[in-house]
Symmetry: C2
Subunit: 349 residues, 2 copies
C-alpha cells in the first residue's frame, strides 16, 4: 500500500486535476501558482521527486513538467477523489433522455447516446443478457418451403428472431401446434431454463416422443444454440468524440480502438466482468487487460432491473478524463436506466 504525507497527497491531487484540465505536463511553478500552495516551487519539486519514485507521476522528458502515470490515476481515484454531486442540469438531462421513450431497446440505445453526449466520450451499454430474461412466447412462421422464421419474445419485451432451415417441411398448422406446445410447457421459465429443458428433451429417448414434438424441440434448439447470445448485445455511441483528444491521435492506435468498438468482443468481456461486482468500476489504461484499450480508461456501472443485475452502462475515454464527473454520470445513468426498465407495480401511475 502506498502511504503519502498529507501534503504529498494534496500535491498529487492538485497535479492530476491540473493535468486533467489542461492536458499539459505540469511543472512545479505552475502548480504552486494554480493550486495556491503555501510553499515554494523548490519544495514542490522535492515532493514531486518522491512521487516519481513511487511511480505515481513521471516526466515525459527531462525538462517538461510531470504527468500522472496509470498508477497515479489509480491512487487518485481510490484515495483522493471526492465525487461531486451532479449539477442539476446534468441530472435533468439524464432523466429527460431516459424517460423520453419506454421501449426497452430504444431506452438502452438512447442511454448510450446520452452518455456520449453528456460526457463527450464514447458511451457503451450492455444489453440485458437474454438468458436471464423470462420466457414469454415462441412463434414459428413459415416464410417459404424450407425457411421458418422463429420469433422468441422475453417478458421484458425483447424480441429475438432467426430464420432456420428444418430438414423436414411443416405446414402452417404443424408449426402453430409446435409453438403451442412450447408456449404452454415453458411459460414463466427463464430463457436459460428453457434452454436446459430443450437440451434435456433432446437427450431423452425419443421413441415415445411424438414426432411433432421432437421436430419442435429440434427447431427451438437451433434457435438457442449458435450465436443467439451474440445478437448485438452492445450499444456503442459517440466514438467520434474520441477523435477530439490529441492523446489519441496516433492513427495506429486509433484504428485499434475503433476496431475494438466494432468487434465489440473485448468490450463485452470487460462489461460482463464488471457486471459481477456492484457499483461503479474503473479500468485505467492497461488495467482493462486489452491492448486496444491502452491509454484509455473505462468507467462502468451495472444496472438492476427488478432487483437483479442484468447489464452494464459505461463510458470509454482517454485516461485523462474528469473521473469525478464521469463517475457520477455513469452511476446516475445506471440507476435511472434500471428504474426506467423495471416493472414498477404501479406501472402506469
Amino acid at each position: 500500500m502506498i502511504s503519502l504525507t498529507p501534503r504529498a497527497e494534496r500535491l498529487l491531487k492538485a497535479l492530476i486535476e491540473q493535468y486533467i484540465a489542461e492536458g499539459q505536463p505540469v511543472g512545479s511553478r505552475t502548480l504552486v501558482r494554480q493550486a495556491g500552495l503555501e510553499f515554494s516551487p523548490a519544495t514542490v519539486r522535492n515532493i514531486m521527486s518522491d512521487l516519481e519514485e513511487f511511480g505515481l507521476i513521471r516526466s515525459p522528458h527531462t525538462s517538461a513538467g510531470r504527468v500522472p502515470t496509470e498508477r497515479g490515476y489509480r491512487f487518485f481515484v481510490n484515495s483522493l477523489l471526492a465525487v461531486k454531486p451532479l449539477y442539476a442540469l446534468d441530472l435533468s438531462r439524464i432523466e429527460g433522455h431516459l424517460l423520453a421513450d419506454q421501449d426497452p431497446q430504444q431506452l438502452l440505445e438512447s442511454a448510450s447516446g446520452m452518455l456520449s453526449q453528456i460526457t463527450k466520450l464514447a458511451g457503451i451499454v450492455r444489453v440485458p443478457r437474454r438468458t436471464q430474461a423470462g420466457f414469454l412466447q415462441l412463434d414459428f412462421l413459415s416464410l417459404s418451403a424450407s425457411r421458418v422464421l422463429v420469433i422468441l419474445v422475453s417478458q421484458d419485451g425483447q424480441v429475438l428472431n432467426r430464420v432456420i432451415h428444418p430438414k423436414k417441411r411443416y405446414s402452417a398448422s404443424e408449426l402453430q401446434q409446435a409453438a403451442n406446445i412450447f408456449n404452454s410447457a415453458y411459460a414463466g421459465l427463464s430463457l436459460e431454463e428453457v434452454k436446459r429443458c430443450l437440451v434435456a428433451a433432446l437427450e431423452r429417448d425419443s421413441e415415445d416422443m411424438q414426432q411433432m414434438l421432437r421436430s419442435a424441440v429440434e427447431m427451438a434448439h437451433q434457435v438457442f444454440t449458435d450465436g443467439e447470445f451474440a445478437d448485438d448485445p452492445l450499444f456503442v455511441s459517440g466514438e467520434s468524440n474520441l477523435l477530439a483528444f490529441p492523446e489519441l491521435s496516433n492513427m495506429e492506435k486509433l484504428r485499434q480502438l475503433f476496431d475494438a468498438f466494432n468487434a465489440k468482443q473485448d468490450l463485452l468481456h470487460l462489461l460482463d466482468h464488471s457486471m459481477s461486482s456492484s457499483g461503479v468500476q474503473i479500468f485505467i489504461g492497461a488495467e482493462s487487460g486489452y491492448e486496444s484499450l491502452a491509454s484509455c480508461s473505462v468507467v462502468t456501472a451495472p444496472y438492476e432491473v427488478d432487483g437483479k443485475v442484468v447489464g452494464t452502462v459505461g463510458v470509454v475515454g482517454p485516461t485523462r478524463m474528469s473521473y469525478d464527473r464521469v463517475i457520477s454520470i455513469v452511476d446516475v445513468t445506471a440507476r435511472f436506466l434500471g428504474g426506467a426498465l423495471s416493472h414498477d407495480p404501479a406501472d402506469d401511475a
Copy 2:
C-alpha cells in the same frame, strides 16, 4: 463536353492510375518512365499544362507533380475507365460470404462487412424499405398492465417490434382477437397498403365500428407512424479502414465523416437517391452534395429482390480509390445479394 486528343486522354489515364496507386503527386518524368510513353517529359509537361487548363488536374504547389481534380476523376470514370472483370478469388470471396447464412438481416449485415473487407474501405448496405415488403403477421403481447409489445412480421422475414402504451387496458384474449382481425384483413398486402388501410379506417366514422376493432386500429397505427421506417435501415462497417488513408487524417474532417456514419442521415439520402436509377453510381467528392463526404467518393449499386429494387449497397472511401476494382465489387455484390434474397421458386433445391 470536354474533348481531348487521344494522346492527352492516354496521359490523363496514366496519371490518374499512377496517382491512385501511389498517392503522390506525379511529375512528368515519373509518368514517362512509369507508363512507358514514347515522348519526352517536356512534351508531357505541355500536355499536362493543357489538362490543367481544362481543370482535370492541378498542382498542389509550384514544384510538385500533378494530382487529379474531382473533375479529372469524373472524366476518368466516365470516359477512360475500363472496368476489369473481377479476379476469381474476389468473386468466390463475395459469393462465399453471401451464401454462408440465409437470414436476411444477417445477410445484409455480412454483405456490408464483406464489402469493407474486400475493398478495405467502408461498406454500406441500405436495408430494404419495409414499406415495400409484404405483410405477414401482426402480434400483440401484453408485457404489463399498460405496455403492449407489437410484433410485425413481413413476408421476407423481417421482424419489427415496438412497445406501445394504449390508453385502455386489454386482456390477453382481447389482444389476441385484435391481432386476428388484422391478420385476416391484411393478409398479402404490402406494408404500405396496410398503412393506408389503417389511416382510412381511422378516418372512417367509428360509431358503427366495434370498440375492439377500433382500439386495434389505433394500436396498429401507433406502430406504423412514429419512427417506424427509421429503424436502423442501414448497415455500415469498416469505418476504421478509412483511418489508414493519409488524405483523411485531418482530425476535423475525420470527425465530420464519422459523425455522418453515425447519424446515417446523409448516407441514407444518398442511397435512397441512388436507388431510383439502375446500375452502379459514383459520387466523387462534392458531387454527393454532403459536406461531410467532401474528399470522399461513394460507389453504390441498387439490388433487386424478386425483380424489384429494394435497397442499395455501396462503398465509401477517399476520392483516390481503385474505381475499376471497387465498381466491379459493388456491382457483383449487388447482384449476388439480390439473388440470395430473392425467393427462388426452387427454394431449397
